[in-house]
């Protein structure tokens, strides 16, 4: 591996990311998967870094899942997105940041389509006006939320309580980064680092003290793929994709996986349980799995937030071995306590995959 070769490509794919004043839209599914992530994104941006991030309860889905499942036409998706942009315009913002990778890809595709075909944009403006009497400006800057954490990575590093270093060996943690397919594969110039060797997560890992692992199936889909998972008959295909990735990364013994997509962490986390049950195989040390984190969770951990306050107990794969390696303090007894000490009850332990 020639690291300088990657650096050259990274230098070619740097996008402009304004430092402040963003209109934030959430994902449809992330709050069900790892509910701490979006909360912590706003917590870090607003309260730790003192940036202006606005969100409104009136925003909706971007329509991306239905679009990629071929259940709604592109005009419908465009009109939904036009309404989102109208909300941004009404709130007085020009920078638009999406929590979801598919939304980000969706917005990038639509803006590019309108640039190529202005008559389509005119038509969508008419449709939006007829539907809800709204008008919009196209965002001056479009970013994925991971672009922002990448942008702030050094500020976070400066405030970090923990580094991505194995406290037992003193070695940097070995980290697999997994980028959502819709981040840059459609428009390489829209992603930090491009499509082939994205830098957005690598930059965070390096800034926070870890080492990035490049493995043969790095570019491969996590296995979610809407028409793989959402069509029940195709779920075996979804699982086999995930299995392929884990088999490929296994020889590198990664300490954890970092992701920037709603579906990727969920499927790479949960399918480890299924692989363990069906194949009897686990990929972490001592029968554990490999923890799969979102970038917001990782940023929160290095900043010193309590793992249970940021929702780490929602992971199928036990995160405690990773917390121990980094030296992050946690109280096992607090793991399944909710607000006001409410007992969340302990989940049933799997038969093969070791959990805490």
């Amino acid at each position: 591996m020639i690291y300088q070769g990657k650096q050259k490509i990274w230098a070619d794919y740097q996008k402009e990311i304004p430092d402040n004043h963003w209109f934030y839209v959430r994902s449809c599914i992330r709050q069900n998967f790892f509910p701490g992530s979006e909360k912590m994104f706003l917590e870090i941006c607003r309260n730790v870094l003192k940036k202006d991030f606005f969100e409104t309860e009136y925003h909706t889905t971007c329509g991306g899942i239905a679009y990629h499942c071929d259940t709604i036409p592109q005009e419908t998706v465009m009109t939904i997105v036009a309404r989102q942009f109208a909300l941004m315009t009404e709130a007085g913002y020009e920078n638009y940041v999406a929590s979801c990778i598919t939304s980000f890809g969706n917005y990038a595709e639509i803006i590019e389509t309108w640039r190529e075909f202005p008559e389509v944009e005119t038509r969508i403006r008419e449709l939006l006006w007829k539907a809800c009497r709204r008008e919009f400006k196209i965002p001056k800057n479009l970013a994925h939320a991971s672009d922002l954490i990448y942008k702030y990575r050094n500020e976070i590093a400066a405030r970090a309580k923990y580094r991505l270093v194995n406290r037992y060996t003193g070695e940097p943690l070995k980290v697999v980064e997994h980028i959502g397919c819709h981040y840059a594969k459609m428009f390489p110039s829209k992603g930090v680092g491009g499509a082939e060797y994205p830098y957005v997560l690598c930059g965070m890992i390096e800034s926070w003290g870890g080492n990035v692992i490049d493995y043969p199936e790095r570019r491969h889909c996590c296995g979610y793929g809407f028409r793989q998972y959402h069509v029940k008959a195709n779920r075996g295909y979804s699982l086999s994709n995930t299995y392929k990735k884990f088999e490929s990364m296994e020889p590198y013994h990664p300490d954890f996986i970092l992701t920037n997509c709603p579906g990727c962490p969920y499927f790479m986390d949960r399918w480890q349980y299924v692989i363990a049950e069906t194949e009897g195989k686990t990929y972490g040390g001592n029968g554990y799995g490999i923890p799969v984190l979102t970038y917001e969770e990782l940023a929160s951990l290095v900043l010193g937030y309590d793992p249970w306050d940021i929702g780490m107990q929602l992971h199928q794969v036990a995160v405690e071995p990773l917390l121990d390696k980094i030296g992050i303090a946690y109280d096992p007894k607090e793991k399944y306590k909710g607000l006001n000490e409410k007992d969340l009850m302990r989940p049933e332990l799997p038969g093969v995959l070791r959990c805490c």
């Binding site: 591996m1 020639i2 070769g5 050259k8 490509i9 499509a195 082939e196």
Partner: protein, 339 residues
Amino acid sequence: MKENIVIIGGGIAGLEAAAQLLSLGYKPIIIEKSDHLGGHVAEWNCLFPDMTPARDIVSSLAARSADANIFLNTEISFVNKLKDSYNIMLSNGISIITKIILVTTGFSVFDAAKKEEYGYGVYDQVITNRDLEHWFNTGEDKRVNDCGMNAVGFVHCVGSRDEKARNPQCSKVCCITAVKQAIELKQKFPDAMVYCFYMDLRMFGKKYEDFYISAQRDYGVRFIRGRVSEVSENIDGRVIVKAEDTLSGKPVKVTLDLLVLMAGMVCSPDSTRVANMARLPVDSDGFLKSEDNVADIISSPKEGVFYAGACTGPKTVPETLAEARAAALKVHLYIKGLE
């Protein structure tokens, strides 16, 4: 004869044209920016289909054109159009007034790093056709493991016939060069598996088809019709290539000790510079635009400016040499017309 003839480029087209003009009694001037003559061919080991040593071709051309005025390490600073001639200022401070310019600036090899998915410059075991020729010539390249060469792959059409790379043209020589290099590697490493990933095989030249058949029949080179989708590196540093075999309709994945990218021909930046200075038109493929692509490819639309070789598009060595001879004759007739 006193008429100045300036040949821009000391590759094989420039040398052959100079040799012909010398034999016609002229004293041409060759301007070459590098420190040696022969252009890309001087960097090659041997040439298809008869494995002719490239150095023999270049040294023969250099000997035949030795009486020309040759400026090495010299670039064109600017070209001014005068009333009925051109003033060419060289980087060494010499100014030449001429009525005839023969552009033989050739081509550039496509920068394979632009095809990021193939990993040139990122993965250690990915090289180009030019790198492999350098290794054939010198034996020096750490990426080529003399002892452990079990599997090698060639990717055809790297930067050729590729809209994404903005090079729609076929580079003409890559198919047969890959066959040649595959055979050469099989000769050096008989037990190695050698794969060629291609989308078309354009075996148009004399003996090309025989060469291709021989590669399969006599050397066991495996030709897979399908483009490579991505290249990655495994834990022991070997490269993993994913492609689609479009004949069997299945994806294929192979692990290789070496991957050779057949980087194609693109217009040389030197041609573009000369075109800008002399106000020569550029064709839609980026190469210099001829007066007529069928009937008169060696004439430019500008009075007294002629072309030879790959500055107007990808060409083989025999085509380039034939064009250089034709250009020399054209220049000769043009001068006769001036008289």
